[in-house]
């Protein structure tokens, strides 16, 4: 093998398993996916050339990412909650290199696997009808209500400026109110989950929720036994007038495993 064709191992995840086994030709580009065990843990890999998966073809890229996710789902079904890797991580070397890495980081990986055992990641996004909350803010504040009534009687130009003023005040209150609500919901959710994080960048939301204001986005690590209770709590929020909740999962715990230091 020349310099440009170094051997590599594409890694999908680390699972709890002490024995060698195979998942079949289910990997990216129908690669044969198998386990490289070390003690009580194992890496799920396929053999490849140590070069990054790069393409300009968007469809191809999507296909690869889906195949990557499929292997993670399959391994989760078979071995329980695992440490997932993002798309595109390749070890330079052979099975021994992977095994060496597992050995080096054994305690950390074992600890992380223990932490996520019997748990999954869920995303919770809470949306509200902005206009409805704004209306509530105005009608519950005598000063704002008075200003709104006065604006109706003002001449056009003056009304425009005061309308802006009202809008700014309402917006300020809207931010306070949605922050308060997000905090309140966060406290309820926290009681039912093992760990919660704020999802900073929500990359995609379904059309159904477009036009609504997102007031909170949480990533939650939830024990299997608590999923129904969390679902019920969120149902309750979803049923409140003007609110809508998107609850999705179970996902592999991408947001809750720590691979820093490996």
């Amino acid at each position: 093998m020349n310099e440009a064709m170094k051997e590599g191992r594409y890694i999908y995840s680390v699972v709890s398993s002490a024995v060698e086994s195979e998942l079949g030709d289910v990997g990216i580009g129908e690669s044969r996916v198998y386990l490289v065990p070390c003690g009580e843990i194992a890496a799920v890999v396929h053999s490849c050339v140590a070069e990054p998966y790069v393409t300009k073809d968007e469809e191809k890229a999507k296909e690869w990412v889906l195949e990557h996710s499929y292997v993670i789902d399959l391994a989760t079904d078979r071995f329980g909650t695992l440490i997932p890797f993002s798309f595109g991580v390749i070890f330079i070397g052979d099975d021994d290199s992977v095994r060496f890495w597992l050995e080096e980081n054994y305690d950390l990986l074992k600890e992380e696997l223990e932490k996520v055992r019997g748990r999954s990641e869920y995303t919770v996004q809470i949306f509200c009808d902005e206009d409805l909350i704004k209306e509530k803010i105005v009608t519950s504040d005598p000063e704002l209500l008075k200003l709104r009534d006065e604006i109706e009687k003002m001449p056009k130009g003056t009304a425009y400026i005061y309308q802006k003023k009202l809008g700014l005040k309402v917006k300020e209150e809207l931010i306070k109110e949605t922050n308060r609500l997000a905090g309140e919901f966060g406290v309820y959710i926290e009681e039912l989950v093992d760990e919660v994080k704020i999802e900073k960048k929500v990359s995609w939301i379904p059309d159904k929720y477009k036009g609504m204001m997102m007031i909170a986005a949480f990533l939650c690590l939830v024990s299997d036994g608590n999923v129904d209770a969390l679902g019920n709590l969120l149902d309750g929020i979803d049923k409140r007038e003007g609110f809508s909740v998107r609850f999705s999962g179970p996902w592999a715990p991408f947001s809750f495993v720590q691979l820093k230091g490996t």
Partner: protein, 101 residues
């Protein structure tokens, strides 16, 4: 990107910046009124001028199909401002980010 896209993107950026300025001017007008330095006529004239500005911007957006471009520029500006504010308010996260790099 073809020439039409480039023009639309550039015009969208300009209009978005004008909207930012419009917002500042409107806030300043409110402050002046609250400060009591304008009489009723002046307020009305100022308000009408702001309406004209608003209508002109809306027309440019409509004529050039810029609504989406401007929204996307505004969204990006919001993200930049949000990031910056977070870093001012929470310097520890900044330090962590630097450490990670």
């Amino acid at each position: 990107m073809d020439e039409k896209n480039l023009k639309q993107g550039l015009l969208g950026l300009v209009v978005a910046l004008v909207e930012v300025i419009q917002d500042l001017v409107e806030r300043q007008a409110i402050r002046r009124i609250e400060g009591g330095s304008l009489d009723e006529d002046e307020i009305e004239r100022l308000g009408k001028a702001l309406i004209d500005l608003d209508e002109a911007i809306e027309k440019i957006k409509e004529d050039n199909d810029l609504e989406d471009v401007v929204n996307s520029v505004m969204g990006s500006l919001d993200d930049v401002a949000e990031d910056l504010l977070n870093k001012f308010l929470n310097p520890e996260s900044w330090a962590e980010e630097v450490d990670e790099k």
